[in-house]
Amino acid sequence: MKINIHQKILLIPALILAALGFIGYSVFKINQNILASEKWVQHTELVLSQSGKILSLTKDIEVASNRFVLTNDSTLLEHATLHYTILLLVGKLRALAERNSNQQQRIDTLNLYVQKFLDFSNEIIRVRRMEGLEAAIKLVSTRQGMADMVRIRQITNTIQQQETSLLNLRKLSNERSVVAFKRFSNVTFILLIIFAIVLIVTIRNFLIQNKTKALAASTLLLANAELAFQNEEKERKAAELVIANKELAYQNTEKEDRAAELIVANEELAFQNEEKERKAAELIIANRELAYQNTEKEHRAAELIIANAELAFQNEEKEHRAAELIIANTELAFQNEEKENRAAELIIANRELAFQNEEKERKAWDLIAANAELAYQNEEKGNRAAELIVANAELAFQNEEKERKASDLIIANTELAFQNKEKEQRAGELKTAEEKITKISYLYAFISQVNQNIVREKDQSTLFSNSCIQAIKFGKFKIAWIGLFENDNTVFSLVAQDGIPGAHNASFANIKVHSNDPLDHILRTQSYYIVNDMQNQENMESWKQFSISFGINSWLIFPIKKSGIVIGAFNLFSTEINFSSREEIALLVELTNDISFALELFEKSRQQRGTEELILLNEKKFRSIIEKSADMKFLSTPDEKLVYGSPSIIKVLGYAWEEFIEVSLFTIFHPDDFEEFVEKRNMILQTSGKSFNTVHRLKHKNGKWIWCEGTVTNLLDEPGVHALISNLKDISEKKITEEQREFDRNNLKALINNTSDFMWSVNRRFELITSNQPFDDWVVIDPGPAAPMTIANGTGSLPSKLIRNRTSYERAFAGETFTEIEHETSPVDSWCEISYHPIRQGDEVIGTACFSRNITQRKLAEFERMKISNDLLRRNEDLEQFAYIISHNLRSPVANILGLTNAMNLTSLSAERKEGIRLALNDSISRLDTVVTDLNEILQVKREISEIKEKVSFSELVENIKISIKNLLETDQIEVLHNFSGIDQMFTMKSYIYSIFYNLISNSIKYRRMDVDAKIEIASERFDNKIELTFTDNGMGIDLDKKGTQVFGLYKRFHPGIEGKGMGLFMVKTQVEALGGKINIESRLNKGTAFKIEFPI
């Protein structure tokens, strides 16, 4: 049919519209395909996992049946539940393959074989129960089950391959349709343009119509080109498939290689285990070493504490010694003072002595004068005696003259007798005169003798006795006796006599003095007394008899005086009555006065002798004081020539003072002290009596310098002295002590201040006694003269820092020595070790010494070390546990293989037995393989995390997992709820998080309670520095009291009869820890379990 141009023109736009519509539809379709392909991926994954599960369940059933055959352990028959599960899974798989008839056919076949397999398994169980092991093994050895199993494996593999290839095909077709669409749309676009051109051309050829065929031809050409292109594409894809096959083949060889590598890896692992054990052993040794070092350190610390205590003790000792030295010093100072006092007293005594000397001198002079006077008086007396002698001679001469005159007179008288009676009278008178003269001449002779006595004799008793004898001899007295008044002048006792008749001696010995008797009279009047007529006088009754019998008539008594006081009396008895004339008595008074004077003289000379002895004694004492003194005393001239030196110079300086006589004292002066000394000395040279204090060094004979301290006094003008007096004391000892003390003090200061430790002491009133520089710097004490800071009173910075130690101080006050550690948290953590040592005075504790050391660094290091060693220990434990489990789980199948191969060699075994062994061997080897595979998986996780981190959404993750197990959730009424409102995203490794979530969810499903609807709740919460995830279920739960420590252990299982090999929770823990997190479990049997996971942010 021909189409006219109008129709053509109408047709072209219609075609264009149709083309556009087609493009639109294609876009929609392709998009739908892309969407569908996502679903397909999930679908395929489900198919893969379901079919995998079927295969693994089949294996489990086979293993369980075999084991039952071997053990007859009926608990193993819980795999009946597996029968149910496996059929369920096959049903689900079939449902999944609903729209794929090929797959459905395969699944039906699978179902058939599964049924057969289950029947066979049931048969085995039945046979084992009914007919025993042998029959069962026989049945097993028909390998029917294995044949079924192989078929199941083949079919599931085919299903999986089919599904995978379908998926790949779908993916490819999607890609291709996208590419094709692009290409098609390009082509269509070109076509549209061409159509437009054609339209224009058609319009242009409105008149020229015969070119339409050519246009159709060109269109056909284009379609051909497209077809050719599609053929090419198919060829290319076929080539790709070939490559993919090659790739698969290559992967297979790769896997074989990997298996070989795994064996090597196993060996390596075994070696590593050994290495780890060795390392663990080394760690234990290192730990022990560390522990030993710690104890060593503690030892050393203890020793240090002891050393400190020793030091403190030594310090105390030094302080004691210092205190003793202070006491000794004060003692010395006191002694010095004493000495000075004594010296001052001595000076006073000296002065006193000097004064006494003077006095004595004066008295001596007086005495000498008195002597001279006495001598003079003696001379005088001698003169007078001479005069008296002369007078006597004269008298004798006169007497002779008178005798001569008398004889002349007698002659004249005789001549005249005749003549004159008057003349006779005159002659009688003359005779009386003559008698008188005789008497006086006797007295003169007596006095003369006594005076000679006085001059000659030196003692009282001789004088007395001679005087008595001479009174009789020359004085012509009858009795002469001298007595002294005694007993308060009541008794007059005889001391010398002459003329007393022997029988009467006793009556003269002690004569009582009666009032108004002559002796009493003497005492009272201090003058002489004369009894003229003893025989007749009234008051002489007691003497009457005596005087009559010896013809005594007169008693003359003269007082003897000493220093003007009557001490005795000179008694003279005479035969004459009215013995004495005035002249005679005067002579006798004079005589007794002379005796008294002589007595006085005796007394004086005796006193002078006493004084002289006293002077000598005092001088001796004084000398010994000076010479025995430890102080050196020099008397020197202004040019320092030594006049006198005390013997102590030898002791102190080693020189004898004579050695100084030629040498100036300055030669032994220390040159450094010389100038100052001379300056001071020159200042006092001009003023008599002035002195200065000096401290200087003098050279000992052995060359050492001796420190001397003392005074120099100018006594140049002092009579008898005329020298500078130096009184010096050796103070070297004191100087050394002072220097030692200063050294000790500085040393102590250096010791206590050059440390970062604080040292302080506190008395019982909580006042600071002393403190070292670091302590002062710390509390910032005002160094002013303020009162001691009171810790308890709350003023200053010290109390606030130390007030809380009050109980510690009180412990120390109670006498305890102890150390405590203080921990301060503000402003930063810091630790101090403070030790308290009571300070004692006698038995009493007067305060406490405190030492504080900042041990923050040590503490922090300790904590750090503890943390590290705890980490190490934990890791070590983990490793050990891991090594233990691995070795056990590796060794377990190996031991089985060993046992089985041994058994195989036994000849006595039946064929069935041998078949059983072969099966078991197979099983053991596959278990070994599983362990190795698991190990690989675990080590993958334990290895360093190499995967790149990304943002992971928890809710998406859970949704994906839910989709992947959707059927399971639906059929078993399992509810998975989540609430990630707290935090939904985390930057981490997706695969690990996925595995953690998947394992925990699957764990909760596995161990759900069959009597309630399972419910799993997952929630997240965000804290400052961590994310917390909680997985809560209402499942069976675990008895944590019994199994708590093993929950996360490798190959630990707690529910017999439920599939699993004890890897899930172990992997979860390993992965959580690999991500730096922590996992905890809470669980109650038959209530449910909650896992809590924390991840740091």
């Binding site: 071997l70 053990t71 352990d73 031991a895 089985n896 062994i917 630990k1052 004890g1062």
Partner: protein, 132 residues
């Protein structure tokens, strides 16, 4: 001493129980062997069967078992009356080669020996008295 002819095997690993059965039977011929893969079942069996005097029995006990470890088994076992314990000699039969396990086994007076897997014929002969 008569040869022991009664054995109990407690091991979750059925293959090991198989090996032990074969070895014991090879060594001693026909004997009475009861194998348990679940230790709890073994405990209740012993409690039930050994209330009164029976044949002397050797029990091989594995250590590493999922629900109840060998040590936990021992904890239960030691509380059994003496009449039970007098009849049974327990040997630890384990794949563990850890000395700590050996030391721990030595600490139990009720454990007669520590045997490393696999069980060997000569051991059976020596511990049952059949070698004499």
């Amino acid at each position: 001493m008569s040869i022991v002819r009664k054995f109990i095997l407690v091991d979750d690993d059925s293959i090991n129980n198989l090996i032990s059965t074969i070895i014991i039977e090879t060594a001693l011929g026909q004997v009475d062997i009861t194998a348990f893969q679940v230790p709890e079942n073994a405990l209740s069996f012993i409690q039930q069967e050994y209330k009164e005097e029976r044949e002397p029995t050797i029990l091989f006990l594995d250590l590493n078992m999922p629900t109840l470890s060998g040590w936990e088994f021992m904890e239960e076992y030691v509380q059994f009356p003496d009449v039970v314990k007098e009849q049974i000699r327990i040997f630890i039969l384990t794949s563990s080669i850890d000395n700590r396990d050996k030391d721990k086994a030595n600490a139990y007076s009720n454990i007669a020996g520590f045997v490393e897997k696999p069980l060997e014929e000569k051991l059976i002969l020596s511990i049952t008295g059949a070698a004499m």
